[in-house]
Amino acid sequence: MADSAWAPVSTSAVPATIVRPRHSALVRVTHWTTTLAFLALLLSGIEILISHPRFYWGETGNILTRPLFQFPIPASRSTVPTGYGYVLPDQNGWSRYLHFQSGWVAVLTGLLYVLFGLFQGHFRRNLLPARADLSRKGLWTVIARHLRFRPAGPEEPWSYNVLQRLTYLLVIFVLFPLVIWTGLAMSPGIAAAFPAAVVILGGQQSARTMHFFITVLLVLFLLVHVVMVCLSGFRKRVRAMISGRSATDMEQT
């Protein structure tokens, strides 16, 4: 521990607290903007889904087609056979307005984040895992520590471990682009301009079904992310993502 770069020089008995920059302003602003946009997209997306809680594969699908699966929930349209004796109120108008507006906020924020992230070396510095960490042993050390519910290592208030890095990269560079692509592939205007974007996915209804499953993965990520933040000190972590600074008591480490 003594060789850590951040170790205090003072050896006084008073518990030393180290405060150091943790998140850049760009990361903080885009993090919370994306959070708001994602929650709005999720809420409006669920509302839109309720108007037709059936999923299909291929180009087309409707009430007269056999679905891939159907949610056992009531619908906001009387044409959908749900088995419930009632129909929920139609909320699609504002849901669609909100979905696309939040979609724009998320996409523009994401572009800003990725461009500045590349420019400032954010991905290279904070998210690309070190080669040693990617070895079977390196990965296993971190996984084992998580499985045993061991507290985070002393460096973690200021750095991400290899599992975090891989997860964040997956969310930023795989799941978000896929959810945007599958969403756009449902648009008749975009399908006209870029037919390949729909054909590659197997059709407009396949795009809709994939859009749903990628959302499920993103919600899983959100749940695990929030649970991990709670386990590692909710106030400390949230404060770091707001103020940009992370503090840790030397006594505990």
Binding site: R54, R77, W94, Y97, F100, Q101, S187, P188, G189, Q204
Partner: protein, 252 residues
């Protein structure tokens, strides 16, 4: 320390100034090139404007995907419609012989066409996808004539910017811009899948706008008006959809 904060201050100030003037210029350009939709005000105005403007820039001339005959959905799904009313029933009893489509507004020769006259014009057909805003879809063959042909016959004036079109059902009306109105796949449709257009799919006459969602393809088409200003129609939001909470532009 003070040096860093001054630099940050200047950068932030410059960034804000560039951002604000950029927005002002973008708004001016968007207005000039007609990239602001009629429901572009209010809470969701920015999102709607971005979607409409982006699609107009990217998709103005793109063609809706065409499908093979064997991809036609069997059977297609007719969405429910409200009560068709006494007037429709009387016309239906007469085999729609009295059905008329009027075209007026900013045209040199306002006209009214009977169904027989419209069917007498050489037919065109397209096999395209119809997607509903609810999430379902089907593929069908639509038979009729491109709207641009009718707009040509009535000699549309060059200052016309929108086409307002109405169903025989009083509260059902829509509008599209000239990019969609003159698009070769925007059809005045009177046939479907090789036969007549069934009543549940909008027969005897439906305006098909295949690059937008189903609710822009108004059933029981009865009149068309060309205009340069949508403010004078209904509540001025462009069509009945925004009045009911739905977006005017449905290309997404």
């Amino acid at each position: 320390m003070s040096k860093v904060s001054r630099r940050t201050l200047i950068a932030t100030g410059l960034g804000a100034a560039v951002g604000a003037s950029g927005l002002a210029v973008a708004a001016k350009l968007a207005r000039r090139y007609g990239l602001i939709p009629p429901d572009g005000g209010g809470l969701y105005g920015p999102g709607e404007t971005l979607t409409y403007a982006a699609q107009r820039i990217l998709t103005r001339h793109s063609m809706a995907r065409r499908f093979r005959r064997e991809q036609i959905s069997k059977p297609p799904f007719p969405n429910e419609v409200g009560p068709l009313g006494e007037r429709f029933r009387r016309l239906q009893e007469g085999g729609f012989a009295e059905w008329r489509l009027t075209v007026d507004g900013m045209v040199a020769r306002p006209a009214s066409f009977s169904l027989a006259e419209l069917k007498g014009i050489p037919k065109a057909s397209q096999i395209t996808h119809l997607a509903c805003e609810e999430g379902w879809s089907y593929i069908a063959e639509w038979i009729g004539l491109p709207l641009f042909y009718l707009l040509d016959v009535v000699e549309t004036l060059p200052q016309a910017r929108y086409v307002v079109y109405r169903s025989i059902q009083p509260d059902w009306w829509e509008s599209i811009d000239m990019a969609d109105a003159l698009h070769p796949q925007t059809f005045v449709t009177h046939g479907m899948n090789g036969g007549e257009l069934p009543v549940e799919f909008g027969g005897p006459l439906r305006l098909r706008v295949p690059r937008q969602l189903g609710y822009k393809s108004v059933k029981y088409l009865a009149s068309i008006t060309l205009t340069d200003n949508l403010k004078q129609f209904g509540k001025g939001l462009g069509s009945a959809s925004p009045e009911g909470g739905y977006a005017w532009y449905a290309g997404i």
